[in-house]
Amino acid sequence: MDNFLEMVKWIQLLEATRETLYMTSVSVLTTFILGLVLGLLLFLTGKGNMWENRSVNVIIAGFVNVFRSIPFIILIVLLIPFTKLLVGTMLGANAALPALIIGAAPFYARMVEIALREIDKGVIEASQSMGATHGHIIFKVLIPESLPALISGLTVTAISLVGFTAMAGVIGAGGLGHFAYLEGFQRNRPIVTLVATIAILILVFIIQFIGDYFTKKTDKR
């Protein structure tokens, strides 16, 4: 047993967890903002909405669909030149961020769009009948009224992002994926892989718990 535990390098595990947390939190935050903006644009330029504009809608939808469809592991490779230009290196947690965000934001944008479509059109019309500006409608109606769905969508996105960080880890970004692959798989220590997996699971459960809590708290329907 002692031997088992010794095989797990606890300091390294902690460091890897910290890296995963860093990659996840920065990418979730950026994905939230970017996805919200894209989702709002998708919704608002759609048919029958405030900024109805077919060409803008088609361009954004195309962009979203393309990046949502590329498997993440291929996206990382495709983005290598872009990442090098932006971050200057392909190694470390920061190098994973562009791919994580570009992979997740379109996914979240679709969820935002779906959440916004669920809002009763009558409520938007009522706001217009009161003389609301577009800004009022976006910040006082659209976002607050869809908040539970925005949060639950973000929870799902955050959990996929934890998965993405593990994949990014394999090609050199660090974190728990990197740890499991390098220290566990390649050195033939399954116990390390197992411990890293448990760490990821705990992280996922915590995210789910927090997400569910806030979804419930904001839902007054």
Binding site: G122, E125, M130, G131, K220, R221
Partner: protein, 341 residues
């Protein structure tokens, strides 16, 4: 207050062009409660939505409170809309906000500051009778309470006109009456002009001063509510009037009566305004040698007077009965002899 001139609204549809509103002219006075009645698809919804610019007329002009709603855009239109409030069939409240916060919403839009907003919200909650429910969410309210929130929200910025888009159609009869009473109260207290659309004649009867009947985009009849009840011209208007003057079972009752009283006449009388209060039956018996049997009757109130219907059975010798009918006719009472077959 409101002037609609030569307004047309055409929607493009797959089967060609659909004329939702066809050549409508209408003037609504300040302080009036004006009703538009029609079946669904008659164009009344499109018409009322042109009054606050939610729809724009294809041609013609709409003027409300001296502003040409059909011309103005942007901030001018938004400003105008703060004076033309609307309440809806499905209330359209923000479910993420409490009662107070919902009522505060139009005040936020108008840029009213915090303390003043709070004061105004409290006034409005009292006005619509929602004390104690300030912090409830819409999902915790009944339909009638939700519509009260809708009304409070609509009144927040002291509008000049209140538009009611089938505001009571989703409510049960009792709640409908309490909401209608509230609307009349507001109309009297604040001098607010109210325009409402509905498919229920009951609503028109209960609160409107004037009524317009719409059918396939056109206004086919227009007048004082009492006049329209007394003397409906169009077949569609007659149908609407029957909704309230004749209960469902009247036809059956009439048939039943004719069967039971083969001799004499079964007569339907309709009274309007002052004639309701005359002792008609007493005079009838005193002056004519007939027996009168009262079979069924009803009196309803409208905003500008009452009217009633009464079914009686007249019996006696034929000449006397006809004399009696002539007598009733001379008393400004509508008479309809129900015949066998």
């Amino acid at each position: 207050m409101i002037s609609i001139k030569d307004v047309q609204k055409v929607f493009p549809s797959k089967q060609g062009q659909l004329k939702a509103v066809d050549d409508v002219n209408l003037d609504i006075q300040e302080g009036e409660i004006f009703g538009v009645i029609g079946y669904s698809g008659a164009g009344k919804s499109t018409l009322i939505r042109m009054l606050n610019g939610l729809e724009l007329p294809t041609s013609g002009s709409v003027t409300v409170a001296k502003r040409v709603i059909s011309k103005i855009r942007g901030s001018e239109l938004r400003k105008a809309r703060q004076e033309i409030s609307m309440i809806f069939q499905h209330f359209n409240l923000l479910w993420s906000r409490t009662v107070s916060e919902n009522i505060a919403f139009p005040l936020e839009i108008a840029g009213v500051n915090g303390p003043e907003r709070k004061k105004r919200v409290n006034e409005l909650i009292k006005l619509v009778g929602l004390e104690g429910r300030e912090n409830a969410y819409p999902s915790q309210l009944s339909g009638g309470q939700k519509q009260r929130v809708g009304i409070a929200r609509a009144l927040a910025n002291n509008p000049k006109v209140l538009l009611c888009d089938e505001a009571t159609s989703a409510l049960d009869p009792q709640t409908t009456d309490s909401i209608l009473d509230l609307l009349v109260d507001i109309n009297k207290r604040l001098g607010l002009t109210i325009v409402l659309i509905t498919h229920e004649m009951h609503v028109i009867r209960k609160i409107c001063h004037r009524v317009a009947v719409m059918e396939s985009g056109r206004i086919v009849e227009l007048g004082q509510v009492l006049e329209v009840f007394k003397n409906p011209q169009q077949p569609i208007t007659k149908r609407f009037v029957q909704q309230v003057t004749e209960p469902e079972e009247t036809k059956e009752t009439a048939e039943h009566l004719l069967e039971r009283y083969p001799s004499g006449l079964v007569v339907q009388l309709s009274f309007i305004g002052d004639s309701v209060e005359q002792p008609l039956i007493t005079n009838l018996i005193r002056q004519n040698n007939v027996t009168v049997n009262i079979l069924q009757g009803k009196i309803s109130q409208t905003q500008s007077g009452s009217y009633g219907t009464l079914f009686i059975h007249l019996d006696g010798n034929e000449e006397e009965v006809h004399k009696a009918v002539d007598y009733i006719r001379s008393q400004q009472v509508g008479v309809e002899v129900l015949s066998n077959g």
